[in-house]
């Protein structure tokens, strides 16, 4: 079942582009990474899903219900953490969280305490006096306190130190195991790599690809670097799948995509001093998607 279904969603700001014909689905129980550089349209998509802004064209459903007409009903089961959190300054943390909880028809007090404990958040402080990171924690607790079925995170890690980030990810994984679906937008790929099942890559307001993380890695190049005492015959690598061949004295490096056996046979003919075969990290794959388009 799809928790989120987006069909040709388009948002124009006057003549300026927001997003164009964005379509993808998020399945129940998965962690979906939504990747793109700043200004690609991640926030626009998310804000449209939350009916903070209204689409110019296209439609989307969450839990099978229309995002506009059923917005208040859908939001009962959504937890949202914006990239920058701002709250009513003259309130104490606990007051704010209780105000937030009062919108959901259940008692969240225990859950608030639990979450505050995990995130090491002082509930008695005034929001005014909190640092950026601590405000972010308020945002996290605020987004999760009603045990939402769908968690939407827009660049959630800014301002959190690595330790807290780890705790936050553990928390997300726990929620996910309990059945929550997560839409996670980010421009930092390593975050997504650790957490997500699938990613959608967005560029200039359009979806470039939606792939499983595993497929994304399989379908890509491996980086080879070979060092030899003698000069390597370049022609050995004149086979299909080899790219960006570079030779520098006794070293040769290239990218390879295809059956690994065929390349290994050719490499076996060389007197090898050293050999590196590397998986490109997601960052490089990502760059690849971007460069390809240009």
């Amino acid at each position: 079942m799809n928790v989120i279904e987006i069909n040709n969603l388009t948002k124009m700001y006057g003549k300026a582009r927001g997003i164009e014909d964005v379509s993808f689905d998020v399945k129940e129980g998965e962690i979906f990474g939504f990747i793109g550089p700043n200004g690609a349209g991640k926030s626009t998509t998310i804000r449209t899903l939350l009916s903070l802004i209204y689409p110019t064209r296209g439609s989307a459903t969450i839990f099978g219900k229309d995002i506009i007409t059923a917005a208040p009903e859908i939001k009962k089961d959504i937890g949202y953490l914006p990239s920058e959190v701002f709250y009513y300054d003259n309130m104490k943390v606990m007051e704010l969280l209780k105000y937030s909880a009062s919108f959901y028809k259940k008692d969240c007090t225990k859950r608030i305490k639990e979450l505050a404990d995990i995130m090491e958040l002082d509930l008695t402080k005034k929001i005014d006096d909190l640092s950026l990171g601590n405000k972010k924690k308020v945002g996290i607790v605020q987004g999760l306190l009603h045990e939402p079925k769908l968690i939407i995170l827009d660049e959630p890690t800014s301002g959190l130190d690595p330790l807290m980030q780890q705790k936050f990810f553990d928390l997300l994984e726990k929620e996910n195991k309990k059945g929550a679906t997560i839409l996670f937008s980010s421009h930092i790929l390593s975050e997504v790599q650790r957490l997500c099942d699938r990613v959608g890559i967005i560029k200039d307001g359009r979806i470039v690809t939606v792939e499983k993380i595993s497929t994304l890695k399989e379908n890509t190049y491996k980086k080879f670097k070979i060092e030899s005492k003698s000069l390597i015959d370049k022609n050995l690598f004149d086979i299909e799948g080899v790219n960006q061949l570079e030779q520098d004295g006794g070293t040769i490096s290239f990218l390879f995509r295809g059956n690994i056996n065929s390349i290994m046979k050719n490499i076996a003919e060389i007197e090898i001093a050293n050999l590196w075969v590397e998986e490109p990290d997601l960052e490089e794959i990502f760059m690849h998607y971007y460069e390809k388009e240009e």
Binding site: S51, E73, I74, S100, Y104
Partner: protein
Amino acid sequence: MNIFLHELKAYRKSTMIWTLSLVALVVLFLSMFPSFSKDAEEFKKLLEGFPVELRKAIGLSVDSIATLIGFFSYAFLYLKLAGAIQAMNLGTSILSKESREKTADFLLTKPVTRTQVVTSKLLAALVSLVITNIVFIAATFMMASIVAGDDFNKEALFLISISLFFLQLIFMALGIVISVIFPKIKSVISVSLGTVFGFFMLGMISSTTEDEALRYLTPFNYFDSTYITEHASYETSFLVTGALVIIAAVSASYYLYGKKDVHSV
């Protein structure tokens, strides 16, 4: 209900300050009445020396100034000014503060409709004004009995003083619709002061001319004290105009707020 209570709490302080200020103003004005009425004839002569346009502009009526109602009506012009600023402030800030303080994301991702948000906030503002007016009218009547004993037209005093509430409703509605049409209001106070003083000036100008049509342009002149005192009622055409302004402004606010895009910071 929770938004309503939250808003009410948020405006507690400002409502208290405005209420106390209005009470202080009315106490100050009315406490001058005894010494004024003692030398009423002298004052009248002095006032007659003023150009008639000026007297009209500042709401002075030589015939009635010696009575409590007449004296109060004169002071009421300035109470109206203060009350209008309070209401306009309230109206302008109640929706726009969410985007100014960037809390709109918090509120509008909760399971509530935008209509519910507007309704709760409107009700909270309304209750704040009702509280202000109850206290204000009570203080007015208390002061009136202190300075004039039982010797005044209670009905007229009540009708005049409660017209502050109607005036405030109009300005609150104007404030709300302005804040929805111009969502990027940086400073509420400058917008509300500007608007209120604009209408106040217009009111003064319209008072000096006998042009009835001009009166419709400024809510300050919808409730004429002399007419209220003489007829013990309001002028229907102005009541209707006031109601129409409120209805139009509030409906427009609902409509626009429901449709607008809430942008991130």
